[in-house]
Symmetry: C2
């Protein structure tokens, strides 16, 4: 089974209209979203076509990160929009339960404590059957002082809830208010900041079963091992390579050489298959004639059959085990 | 000849005292630095010993980046400290002209236009014989709104002066005011931001002879080629790999696998030897028994003799040609 553990919902036209109204009115009045069944289904069917075109059996669907609007005021805007996206994902998952699983967006807002996200996480996991959530290290979206790093106790309420529900989080920032740093680049930089903050803390001693995935090959860090190895040698304690293996990573970077380095640094056992397709890498690579985010053939070239099975399926099923319990898609029956 | 194109001055004890007084008094009164000849010489001789221990013939010396204090108020503090560091470097270069060349710090300050740096750059190059300068993309040091990206016309006054003097700049940020992002990580993130801002602009059309070096293997970018290749395919125009070759890079990253990827992505002809030793990588690698920043043996393993000569010497001499004119160190005589 080929599971793409990192993909984002495709919005029907009515969702854009709802978003536009929420933002322009600043939710006052807020109106209500109405998503006709046919629109929800058409968006999901479009996605399934993309999945079929590259041989993906299942996608884990979360809100489109750059559209999370975590930094926009008032907080109610983020809450309404997050709920809208999660509900949309739920409807698509219900339509195609063999092909899609839900990963929740959280209504994180600026420097507000993540306590404000617990109710929505609980609703998504317990009522809607979602299996994971996104976690944005900078919900200010680069507008002013960011919250403390992910290693800080600021995040403990969310980590405690994630552990209670045994729900993994995919670390993924949203947009960027700084003209010099596009959201696509901020993703990478925030992942580097997240990794170092986490590994410079005692988070994994306090929450040994916390499950965090750093997407996009782990930001810059696997390319800068020497810098951080030297840091841990000077500091004493766990070596950087071992610290790094407390995290999980995904393949959502679109270059064979980079993936080769990632596997060498963290080992195939820490890596989940992910393409985020359709997304950033959906453009034709002139060297191969395939889209950059058509990563299955790339991984088939790089990995042994055993490691392929781990990356395409087993690592993912193991990490999301509790939340996938009882789920048997057609492919697995 | 082995030229380490990226190294930072080692301060004598009197410099720390001067810094402490400048900062605590906020330059009012400012006092004056007095650096005894013996202290300046002892610091330089210590550095030479480090260079000898790893077979480095020449180092290009600039101020220690994290100690640049570009974000501290008042601006006069940065000016006095920058001048102090540049004068110290000049004295060490005069003592050991065969082994050291000067790279100027600039008194960049917060969001102030870089016009305020031109006089010091001119003084260093024309009066002190310096061959290059540092360029910090975020002189606010992460405290509030950063200035526009390096692709913005905000930086044109400095670029025009650099081109006039044919002086390369090494892109290097200073400290970080954000507890979640250490200066060592901010270096990497700022390099990624700098590269994308430059390559998303028309800077190299407006200043075709502008010489910019991105140190530390080019931040995250050579590890994220797929992401930015897809971006240029969608956008049209120059392919990302070709855009990237408008810049120069250095080897100041402390891992063989990362260096291998760097050479594959940009080619040995765009890469300058650099170790920043003593610095971040000065700790013993348990795998080799050598310091992480002892990179000469690593490059000798990775590169053909021809490419070694390019990286250790020829690329550097070619890039700094105008400013090295007339300089014949012992090794080259």
């Amino acid at each position: 089974m080929i599971i793409d553990s990192h993909a984002h919902v495709v919005l029907p036209p009515e969702s854009y209209r709802y978003m536009a109204e929420l933002v322009s009115s600043r939710t006052n009045p807020s109106g209500a979203a109405t998503l006709p069944e046919a629109s929800v289904r058409a968006a999901a069917e479009g996605l399934l076509k993309v999945m079929d075109s590259v041989g993906t059996d299942v996608q884990f669907l979360s809100p489109r990160p750059y559209m999370q609007m975590h930094g926009l005021k008032p907080a109610r805007l983020t809450q309404l929009w997050t709920r809208h996206c999660n509900d949309l994902i739920h409807r698509q998952v219900q339509m195609f339960p063999d092909r899609l699983r839900g990963v929740a967006g959280l209504p994180q807002h600026g420097r507000t404590s993540p306590e404000n996200t617990l109710a929505e996480l609980e609703r998504c996991v317990k009522e809607l059957g979602f299996i994971g959530c996104l976690l944005n290290p900078d919900p200010t979206e680069g507008d002013g002082e960011p919250p403390p790093g992910l290693g800080d106790r600021f995040w403990d309420p969310l980590y405690a809830k994630m552990v209670e529900l045994d729900t993994p989080a995919l670390i993924h920032s949203a947009s960027s208010c700084q003209p010099r740093e596009s959201y696509t680049l901020k993703f990478i930089n925030e992942e580097s900041i997240a990794i170092i903050s986490l590994l410079d803390s005692d988070v994994f001693e306090r929450f040994p079963s916390l499950k965090l995935i750093v997407p996009h090959g782990g930001g810059a860090i696997p390319y800068h091992m020497g810098r951080f190895r030297a840091w841990t040698v000077r500091k004493g304690g766990m070596y950087f390579d071992d610290k790094l293996k407390q995290l999980h990573f995904d393949t959502c970077t679109y270059d064979k050489d980079a993936l080769e380095l990632l596997f060498k640094v963290v080992g195939p056992e820490r890596v989940l298959f992910a393409t985020e397709k359709p997304g950033t890498g959906s453009a034709k690579d002139p060297a191969t004639g395939r889209d950059f985010d058509d990563l299955k053939p790339v991984l088939e070239e790089l990995l042994s059959p055993k490691d392929q099975k781990a990356v395409f399926e087993d690592n993912i099923v193991a990490l999301y085990k509790t939340r996938l319990a009882g789920w048997k898609p057609a492919k697995a029956r």
